[in-house]
Amino acid sequence: MSSVPKIVNRREFLKTSSGVALFIGVSGILPQIISCKDTKGIKEQLQKHDITAWVQITEDGEITIYNPAAEMGQGSMTALPLIFAEEMDADWSMVKVEFSPQEVAVYGSEGWAPGSKLMFTVGSRSTNSYYPVMRKAGAQARYVLLNSAAKHWEVPISELSSNNSTVLHAATNRKISYGELVPVLAMPEIIPDFSPEQLKNPKDFQLIGNTIPRVEIPAKVDGTAQFAIDIKLPNMVYGVLERGTLHGAKPTLTNEKEILAMDGILKIIPFDYAIGLVADTLEKALEAKKLLKIEWGDAQAIGYNSQEIYPTYEKIAGQRQTGKVVQEIGDVNAAMRSATKSYMADFKNDYVYHAQMEPLNAIVQVSADLKSAEVWVGSQQGVDPKLGVPDLLGIPHENVNIHLQYLGGGFGRRSMNDFVIEATLLAKEIAPLPVKLIWTREDDMGYGTFRPLSLQRMTASVDKNGDISGLSHSVVGDGGNLVASGSRNDHYNIPNQLVEWREASHGVRLKHWRAVGHGPNKFAIECMLDEVALGQGIDPIELRRKLMVKSPRALATLERASEIADWNTPSKEGRAKGVAFVVHGSLGTGICEISVDRSTGKIKVHQFWIALDAGIVVQPDNVRAQMEGGIIMGMSSVLKEQITIENGRVQQSNFHDYQLLRMQDIPERIETDFIASAERPEGVGETATPMVACAIANAFLQLTGKPLRHLPFTPDRVLQVLNS
């Protein structure tokens, strides 16, 4: 009975080691993440059969592939399984996608340290880091199916081929569908550790590179897509925290008895920086939150006024002592000394807020014995795939299940797990009841974590040939790499460069915000180039063309953008174009066309063109969507958004005083063109956003001859510049 089906237990996972794949046992993992409402889903789940740890199949050929990354609108739910299906030769119309378990040993991609693994949806790393992982895993799943067919037909596996969920044996003209192989699935003892050369030739791709609709969009248009905030569990209670607006101030509650006497209030739980409340309904929790009387202690930020800090930053930038060096090439001081002309300018950036549309929230249930926990959360995951919960509760990692949900926006904010920790602390106090912790919008903004305020001092020197011989870039601000990222220039041939960071610290909460330091730093770099171009009487594209002489991929994006934007044809009266080059994962050149209302100071962006080299483009329509969204979010931050701090306190509280870009202010169109490439895919989520500030400011410089050097370009600031 050699055809007895040998189904590998779900809890045995593939792990590759020294060239072969082994099966290892991992106990205590529940791989399926099923909606608590979804009893039908549980029934269907039982009929699935494992091919490998990544993929299941039913007898009727439905294939379930795991997505190991968070889905926050960037499209991983489709892109990563699509790469897998490509190598598996799966019929995409029969593919369903689910989130994988949060088990990094099995589902991680290469982390930052060589040889390490990570499940962390940040830095536009998902498609790039998972491309080899999903290809190999897809090829291994195909191998299992081919092996099963080979055993079933008693033919050598080398004689088999596959296409669209079917195994073919050309010599005997036989074929069998993947679903039909389920009863005879035979797990090979060794699965090859496919090298890239053994995988498909990209020219044979049938799924990658085509227009494929995103798998979760139907659920996002009928209201059934489940975000963590939508979870409801039996006996669930509600948690809120009052955190104040002064980060780190210690609270003293003065009306505890009064609050506890309120209907439905179950518990008050003090934190170092907040007062937590648990109630039987959300509205009762929110009502009680408003009535809390809290005396707040001091914090580092007291006395700090964000809009008055820039003169201090200018002084720091002017100090002789160099800061922490990020990049040094040649001798920038020597270049300055021998310069025929030099340029200097300071660029300033106010704080910006993530403003993801789903406020932070998490649902946590801790067991009565405090030995295990279930967590439902929209998270960008983390270095700890269990989001800090095991350490907090002092329990083993396998005792915590993370049920990842769709994210109502991430943008970096959900790469922190502060809200998960808060919910876990509440759940521990009220165990075994499940707690839904909700941050109100006011909590989310007032206790937000912001892209740091910063100042960039740029100095450029031009030599006797009219070439840029040196570029010095001094970043002043809080947050280390948060302010320094994107300050390097690896694609510009400038022989002498110095990039350095000078620290300031104010006790304001900070975090990665889409594209991180690239926003402020590309703004400074690209605007400085255009100020030099204007001063030297050179066309901004021509200036960059010379600088990109040693970077053909960057140059190709510049040339293509110039073509599609028709750069050499002057804009109509009252309009002008501006260009910016950005590398963030992908390489991209963006060009925009703007006009400005000289009576109100309002900037109108008419069009945006992007030429992008993203390597192999896995999902072209989705990459276009990322360019569109990246530009519009960039425009929002550049034209409108500003968090201000007075005496350490965040001054904005909701969307009435923190304005986002609305539909009436969008450009007429955003056009994206791809540079054909066979290189490994690069991230696309953060390439467009940093183009916006510099492209707009450079267009404004063309239009008015005046530089915009302080973000955001609010109408009052624009008027000030126009009237200066």
Partner: protein, 157 residues
């Protein structure tokens, strides 16, 4: 606490909550109609847009007390049986959502627009939709989806 009878998606729903409770919490947390989203709570973002007697309203600032007299409440769950309202189909064709969190509100606002004005100009679309925020920046595709739905004569459905 008081009892309220609500007509939601052509079904009667009974709920016991305090007077003055936000209709948004009633829909989401008491009745499990979670397609309608919370985002700002002060009628600035439109993620909670629903229809009351066919007019788009922001549920977060409505009190349940005022909508228990037979007013017809419609949420995204009641827009179509199978998610195939012409506006929903157009939304899929345009691949409009990214994170998707605001899109129930976007779709409810768009349906109201097309019921009032089956052939809006681009400018009319932008004005009517201006109250619904999208942080992912999907506005261009929302405009495209509404134009597609308009061509399919949504008003006759």
């Amino acid at each position: 606490m008081a009892n309220f009878t609500l007509d939601i998606n052509n079904k009667r729903h009974e709920v016991e909550v305090a007077n003055g409770t936000s209709l948004l919490w009633v829909l989401r947390e008491h009745l499990g109609l979670t397609g309608t989203k919370y985002s700002c709570g002060i009628a600035q973002c439109g993620a909670c847009t629903i229809h009351i007697d066919n007019k788009p309203m922001k549920a977060c600032i409505l009190q349940v007390d005022d909508f228990a007299d037979g007013q017809k409440i419609k949420t995204i769950e009641g827009l179509s049986e199978k998610g195939d309202h012409p506006v929903q189909r157009a939304w899929i064709e345009a691949q409009a959502p990214q994170c998707g969190y605001c899109h129930s509100g976007q779709i409810m606002q768009a349906v109201a627009l097309l019921e009032e004005n089956p052939n809006p100009t681009k400018e009319e679309i932008k004005i009517y939709m201006n109250g619904i925020l999208c942080r992912c920046g999907t506005y261009l595709r929302i405009v495209k989806a509404i134009e597609l739905a308009s061509k399919s004569n949504v008003s006759t459905i």
